[in-house]
Amino acid sequence: MIPLSWYLIFAACLFCVGLYGVMARKNAIAILMGVELMLNAVNVNLLAFWRYLWFTKVDGQVFVAIVLVAAAAEAVVGLALIISAYRRRNTVAAEEMDMLKG
Amino acid sequence: MTLWYEDPIKLIANWLFGLMLGWGMPVDTANFVLTLLGAAFLGVVPLLFCIFLIWYERKLLGRIQDRFGPNRVGPWGIFQPFADMLKIFIKEFITPQGADVVPYNLAPILSVASVLLIWAVVPFSMTMMGVNLNVGLSFIIGCGGLGLLAIILAGYGSNNKYALLGGMRAVAQLISYEVPMVMSLLVPVMLSGSLGVNDIVQKQTVPYIILAPVAALIFFITSVAESGRAPFDLVEAESEIVAGFNTEYSGLKFGFFFVAEFLHAFTISLLFSTLFLGGWRGPFTDQVPLLGFVYLVVKTFIVYFLVILFRGSLPRFRIDQMMDLNWKLLTPLSLVTLLITALLANPLSGMPLLQAVALFLVNLAALVVLMSWAERKMPRKRKIVAKTRPLATPNQQDQLSA
């Protein structure tokens, strides 16, 4: 059988890759992809914990379901924002969206 | 010892298993090989079957359009598809310049695979099925997503604006139509209380088309739309975008798409007859399980005939009409039928007859009400896309010369 640790390490790696993507990518859509990766890492963790420690209960699965919903909503809204930003400023590069600059 | 008419597949499987053990294979390896063989069988049979389907469809279309259809090659032109196949095999592959190679080549494979995957969970008789997945339906929906992906890959990969447009249309259309499709799929799930396809079939003492006619209708329409055939073939509307996503494909790659489309059409009729017509259920299936397979095939062909009729007799939608149909009619309708099923199914589950009658009537009522409402809400006015051109006037020279 696979020990729990493998899943945790795997999830951690996936999470960090996603994090890197979020922080380093220029394209807003790519940032969104990074976020999706992070969310998936979270799901892997949740399911792993459910399978290994709580498989008699359903809590872990419920959390996963909620995370899925949140991910869907986040993707939809994010993409809508990106598209409208693209329409207004004709770019999707996150670092060019710096109206907040002091 | 199982008799041949009970489950020939298992019979053969047992025989092969014994054979391999006889060759001194370890058990799990044997199992592995057996699984591979089964998968290969399940994958190949439909592809071969598709040849016949093509002939059948072309024949029927011919009849619908008041012509003979293929009738030269072989008796009733039955070898026509083989001829086409040969032609397609020997054609040249043309990879357009600037194409994104990996997606471009991946797309046809995915498009066929997404259809074949569905066959893995369809129960052909009481025991004959690829795998009895307890989440079969969500699996099927996932496969639909894959098919969509294939089309997008094709559209993007072949560096061509028409292809890209076709891809975009595909995205818009298929994503939109997935919504009511999934909801209408939820109705059988609620009625049977299971996501597994075989369980759904086994629960269907009354075919669900009686318990949920509206859901059946919606599923039929939406799945035809998913398969991207007429009247929903905007993805490859030759009059608007040359051939849509498969403009740049030639040879066998095009053949893949071709096969995938036919196979998809057949698969949706298979699914329809499984989910709504009771699948392999029928008299004497308990004694002779093989009968179930026959029943399934018969039902499927009936539905397939309807699909072809659909294709042959309806003109293509305009894109806005298609979206209206989906968002303004099908989605609310599916929501309504989902609700009424949820409300009615459980309380009446004790008395099947009453349940069937009540659900049927309520469904019809909902259908009528919503249709009439939609009639009023959606006046069939055409959107003016261009000015009418002036008619040709006889030019002066001719006048004079005459």
Partner: protein
């Protein structure tokens, strides 16, 4: 839904209706009144269901329907609030539900729904009528719809809510809440036509007068709470040994016992609310409001609420009563009640305004109930409360219908006469048959016409109660006022309906729409039949034909071993004589008064004047209380205190501050602050801002970078410092 929850829900619909009307449907009249009607109807339905369920319950008094919830935390205990339906509240609920529903229906007609909007009506004034042009070119005036139609329904809905709350609540606090809401509503409704100065004054008068009572009542409630630790009926009031304790412990005020003191305090609230003698002045003026309001206030709700409270606190006031010697509180009640009965009856003799007569008769009838409670005949008081509610509502609505018809006549024939003055009426019997017959029934019930009308039974019970209770004085007073009651009732009826029309308006008066007459009929039915449930056993001939259900039902409330038995027939004879005699007398005197004739009462001379001017009580109050108050506020507080003293001080301070401030500015602010600190600091800020500016790159990713970095660092550090042990 369990019956308990249903009880909770009874007051709700009118409140919702109020909210809906006020917030949304204010400008759609029909929607408004249908909403209000729906609210009242729902409450009525729930009320009926609860009532009949309650009647069905075995021995309701011991185990009443209801439930309670924790409401206010008071230290370590909870102040509970809840609902209860015991016999008293059950019967109250019954008549309240019926009368309120009827009044709602009636109001639609009374405010001329469906009539055109008036020519020059505007909010705050009663409608003046609209002019209709026919095709033939002729034009005539008709009634016009009330401008503030929706507002009216909103207010009476709130009123109904308050009354239901008061009835179903199981403790004095919630009762008090409903009580005060009603006070507010009556203020709004009496002043409904706020364009009329008289209506404004009446509203203020009513509000302040009842407030006087309420203050004392609040004192009483607080005292009761501190004495018993609860305001719940069952926990505090029906708890006999507790009452005994209160009755025995002395309060140190006027040698009263605690029970007596609290009883009297709360009773003052009753006096204010149901217009007993010293505080009765507001009620006749309250006639300025629209007639349904008068009916609401006088019959169905507010004044009944007063008596209802008195009945509720009866255990308190009667604590320590052995059946013969009345407790001080009871003495006070008996005295005030009987006095008010007589006093108001005499005033009613000389009034010409049809509604004022009814107002004073109401006061006197309430006096009856109070007196009945005073002499300890608890059931009789409740009984009279119920019957009186029905027939008085009937009378008020009937008088409203008469006025309405008269107004119609006034508009029709443009002679401007007061449509409320009885001497302008006469002979309406044929014009308005429904109104006449129902009014007749009501009037007979009021004057206690023997055997058939409800009023007779209740009144007879009160009389016999006071007689057998040994309170001969009370008995005599009540008997006399009963005679007067019958007399002025007959005077009113005959002046209004009999004889010949005295004005053109009266000739052209016409019967009203069914929406107004139907409630009259319904109420008339009750005004007759409500009495039959309470026919005493001891009654000759009829006694025991119908079981005296009411007596057992309500009597089971408290263990009335004191309730006197029906011994002698003297009270019965008396009530027969006074009722019939009074009616006969009235009919003889007022049979047919010609137009422009004087009131025969004026033969009484000075006495008539006294009655006419209501013993000058209003003027008395005007001189004794109001003028001095006005003088003090005008002269003392305003002229002297405000102008001279306070303003002087304030202006002095102002001047000083001004001088100081300018000095400060010149010598400190300008040189030091501005030159030195401000400019320097701003310079510094700008510099530092320039320095730090690049940090604010505006790129969300950079911010995230920093944030995550900090998280990682702090996390690692924290983990190495603290975390290991925990793991």
């Amino acid at each position: 839904m369990t019956i308990q929850n249903l009880i909770w829900l009874i007051p709700l619909p009118p409140l919702l209706a109020f909210g809906i009307i006020v917030l949304f449907t204010n400008r759609w009249k029909s929607v408004s009144h249908s909403v209000a009607l729906a609210g009242a109807g729902l409450s009525w339905l729930a009320g009926m269901v609860v009532f009949f369920r309650a009647v069905g319950v075995e021995n309701l008094a011991e185990n009443p329907l209801g439930s309670a919830i924790d409401w206010l935390p008071t230290g370590d205990t909870w102040l509970q609030i809840g609902v209860v339906i015991d016999p008293v509240s059950a019967v109250t609920l019954f008549f309240v539900a019926w009368t309120i529903l009827m009044i709602f229906v009636y109001s639609i007609g009374y405010h001329n729904f469906g009539q055109p909007a008036g020519d020059h009506d505007h909010p705050g004034m009663p409608p003046h009528g609209a002019t209709i042009r026919e095709k033939k070119g002729g034009m005539h005036q008709v009634m016009s719809i009330e401008p503030m139609y929706s507002r009216f329904f909103a207010l009476i809905s709130l009123f109904a809510f308050a009354m239901y709350l008061l009835v179903v609540s199981d403790n004095l606090l919630a009762l008090y809440i409903g009580w005060e809401i009603m006070g507010f509503c009556s203020y709004m409704l009496i002043g409904f036509w706020y364009g009329k100065i008289s209506a404004r004054n009446a509203a203020v008068k009513a509000f302040l007068t009842t407030r006087i009572g309420d203050v004392f009542m609040l004192l009483g409630l607080v005292g009761l709470y501190s004495a018993t630790g609860s305001l719940n009926y069952r926990a505090a009031l029906m708890n006999t040994e507790l009452m005994e304790k209160l009755a025995t412990t002395s309060s140190g005020v006027l040698g009263l016992s605690v029970a007596g003191l609290l009883g009297i305090l709360i009773f003052i609230g009753v006096v204010g609310k149901s217009a007993q003698f010293p505080l009765h002045v507001w009620l006749p003026d309250a006639m300025e409001g629209p007639t349904p309001v008068s009916a609401m206030i006088h019959a169905a709700t507010m004044v009944s609420a007063g008596v209802y409270l008195a009945i509720r606190v009866f255990p308190l006031v009667s604590a320590g009563w052995d059946g013969h010697a009345l407790t001080p509180a009871m003495t006070v009640m008996a005295f005030i009640g009987s006095f008010t009965a007589l006093f108001a009856a005499t005033i009613a003799l000389a009034q010409n305004d049809i509604k004022r007569v009814l107002a004073y008769s109401t006061i006197s009838q309430l006096g009856y109930m109070i007196a009945a409670l005073g002499v300890g005949s608890f059931v009789a008081a409740t009984f009279h409360l119920v019957t009186h509610a029905f027939f008085k509502a009937l009378l008020f609505l009937g008088s409203g219908s008469v006025i309405h018809g008269m107004e119609h006549g006034v508009l029709h024939t443009h002679d401007k006469v007061d449509p409320q003055d009885m001497f302008n009426m006469g002979g309406l019997k044929d014009k308005m048959p429904f109104t006449f017959w129902t009014f007749l029934i009501g009037g007979f019930a009021l004057s206690g016409f023997p055997l058939i009308t409800a009023g007779f039974w209740s009144k007879d019970e009160i009389l016999s109660g006071s007689f057998n209770g040994g309170q001969i004085l009370v008995f005599a007073t009540l008997a006399l006022s009963a005679l007067l009651t019958a007399f002025y009732t007959m005077r009113q009826i005959s002046l209004t309906f009999l004889g010949q029309p005295r004005t053109k308006a009266a000739e052209h008066a016409s019967e009203n729409k069914p929406v107004m007459t139907a409630p009259l009929v319904v109420l008339a039915v009750f005004a007759v039949s409500a009495g039959w449930v309470g026919i005493p056993k001891g009654f000759p001939l009829l006694g025991g034909l119908i079981p005296n259900w009411f007596h057992e039902f309500v009597g089971s409330m408290l263990h009335l071993e004191h309730e006197a038995e029906h011994g002698s027939v003297i009270p019965l004879l008396t009530s027969l004589v006074v009722a019939l005699g009074g009616l006969l007398l009235g009919w003889l005197v007022y049979r047919n008064i010609p137009a422009g004739a004087k009131d025969p009462m004026e033969k009484l001379g000075i006495l008539y004047k006294v009655f006419k001017y209501k013993y000058g009580i209003d003027e008395l109050y005007q001189d004794v209380f109001i003028r001095p108050a006005v003088w003090i506020s005008e002269v003392f507080s305003y002229k002297i205190v405000d102008k001279l003293i306070l303003d002087g001080i304030i202006e002095g301070i102002g001047k000083a501050a001004l001088g100081f401030g300018s000095a400060l500015r010149k010598y400190f602010d300008l040189p030091v602050i501005n030159k030195g600190l401000t400019d320097g600091s701003s310079m510094a800020v700008r510099k530092s801002g320039e320095a730090i500016r690049p940090v604010q790159s505006g790129r969300v990713q950079d911010y995230m970078l920093v944030a995550v970095a900090l998280v990682v660092i702090t996390g690692l550090v924290g983990y190495y410092l603290f975390g290991r042990g925990g793991m």
